[in-house]
């Protein structure tokens, strides 16, 4: 008969392997703390199931108790001494890692796309998207935006490297494709310094373009940007 202890070990190992290696093939990897929590739940389940009856309790816990109390012989005896020595050391090590001062700077929760001020909500681009406005917009982009946001609209311009946060990658479906044109109009016109506190304006290198570009040029650069990045703006209709 298979020992319930071995079944339990196989079950735990299997659940760990599934959460750690197989699940990430289908979805985002689970944070280690969550895996840990799931394993703890599985372990409690195993314990409850294994100890429900007196016979089960003996079959389940007997080998563990005999191992710990030392009523065993042969190489297992050495293993027992090793476990008894290693366990306190692990606890000590873990106490140290929990208490040791961190060398990591405090985490910052920067909101990448904070809510725009009211006056910029729902503005429509007064210029049509056509070959002429696209070309004009791309020209303005090349002269002003591409050093940071890149000639390929991917945020990898030659001047991008020193900045934290890095310049936005417009080709990424998580940036301008999620936003309306009015949002881009706000961000370009007011620049990094126009961000609310949750956007951490003190870190952004984005210029306040209203000092250098007319509204017309800003609207046209938006047209050129969407076309160049192969994205389309989010519209009100899609929200319904």
């Amino acid at each position: 008969m298979k020992s319930p202890l071995i079944s339990a070990a196989i079950l735990l190992g299997g659940v760990f392997a599934f959460l750690k290696f197989i699940l990430p093939l289908f979805t985002a990897p689970l944070p280690a703390s969550l895996i840990y929590l799931y394993l703890a739940i599985v372990l409690s389940g195993i314990m409850i199931f294994g100890t429900m009856s007196a016979g089960g309790l003996e079959a389940f816990m007997g080998p563990i108790y005999r191992f710990i109390s030392g009523e065993i012989d042969g190489p297992t005896k050495m293993a027992r001494i090793l476990v008894l020595i290693v366990f306190p050391l692990l606890v000590g090590w873990q106490t140290y890692t929990k208490l040791a001062p961190s060398e990591l700077p405090p985490a910052e929760n920067r909101t990448i796309h904070p809510a725009p001020p009211g006056e910029f909500v729902g503005l429509a681009n007064p210029y049509p998207t056509n070959e002429s406005t696209i070309q004009e917009g791309k020209g303005i982009y090349a002269a002003n935006c591409s050093p940071c946001h890149g000639p390929n609209f991917d945020g990898k311009g030659s001047a991008a490297l020193g900045f934290n946060p890095p310049p936005a990658n417009f080709a990424d479906p998580g940036t301008i494709a999620q936003l309306q044109e009015s949002y881009l109009f706000w961000r370009i016109k007011k620049g990094g310094v126009g961000l609310p506190i949750e956007g951490m304006p003190w870190k952004s290198a984005m210029p306040r373009w209203e000092h250098e570009l007319t509204d017309e040029k800003i609207w046209k650069v938006i047209i050129g940007e969407y076309d160049g990045a192969g994205q389309s703006p989010r519209t009100w209709e899609e929200e319904d």
Binding site: A32, Y65, V91, G92, T97, G194, I197, P201, W202, K203
Partner: protein
Amino acid sequence: MVYGQKHMKGFFAKAQASLYLAIACGLFGFAISPVLASDPPPDGAPASVSVRVYLTEGVVPLDDPLASAWDSAAESEFNLSPQVHWPDRIQETTVKSVKVRGLHDGQAIAILVEYQDPTEDPADAAALEFMVGDQKAHFAHGQEMLLVEGGPVNIWYWKNEVGKATDMSAKGFKTLRPQDQQDVAAKGVWQDGTWKIVFSRPLQTGDEHDIQINPGNWASVAFAMWDGKLVDGAVKEKGSQKAVSSWWNIRAEPAPDNSIFLYVILGLLVAAAFEFVLVRKLRKGQAV
């Protein structure tokens, strides 16, 4: 009655066993959690996000960029960009990245910056920038933010032809001024295409316009470098034409806290005592 007593005894034995088991599981989980709970760093994270200013019991090389003591401090490296935030921008700078090390002794701090610049020129210059006080300041000279009240910045500036540091303040463009109270020293050495410049200062200056450095506390730092080479009779990079970074983090190491080891020993003892009690109980009564 007899049956009841026996029944109760069995119940207590079981409860006791379960309790031990629960404690063992808890301790074991605590012990192995670092093995399970370690997430890899996120993709695309930059190489350095902070400067660690090491606490040394030796002499802090306040004016010696070549001192061997610098070898004891691990370096951080930060990429630089051309200053694009403000007009008069240039799109290419000579200095592409800067390596930074820090040392302090509880009284004074020295920060070494090291970067490639193929030519030594009188107008070569470098600067460190810090936020002052509790209010966040924009990295471009603490310029005005539209929705957030910003604070001032403290700039430690060094220029080759001047040969010393200038302790400066700014809060917005065109407000950069040398301070009345000068607290910063600097010394630069150019060798084989590399500038090594050490900036130094007491940790605390008593000047409200300065960053006050408290070991253990995180602060914000940014860097700027100018290549002063003459191109067609004009200095290549000057004023707002420079290589810059935005804000990164800096922290002077606090004095080591030895009380941690007390807790570690306590943890060891608790675990060992638990083992001892468990083994004894099991041997005595076979709890199950």
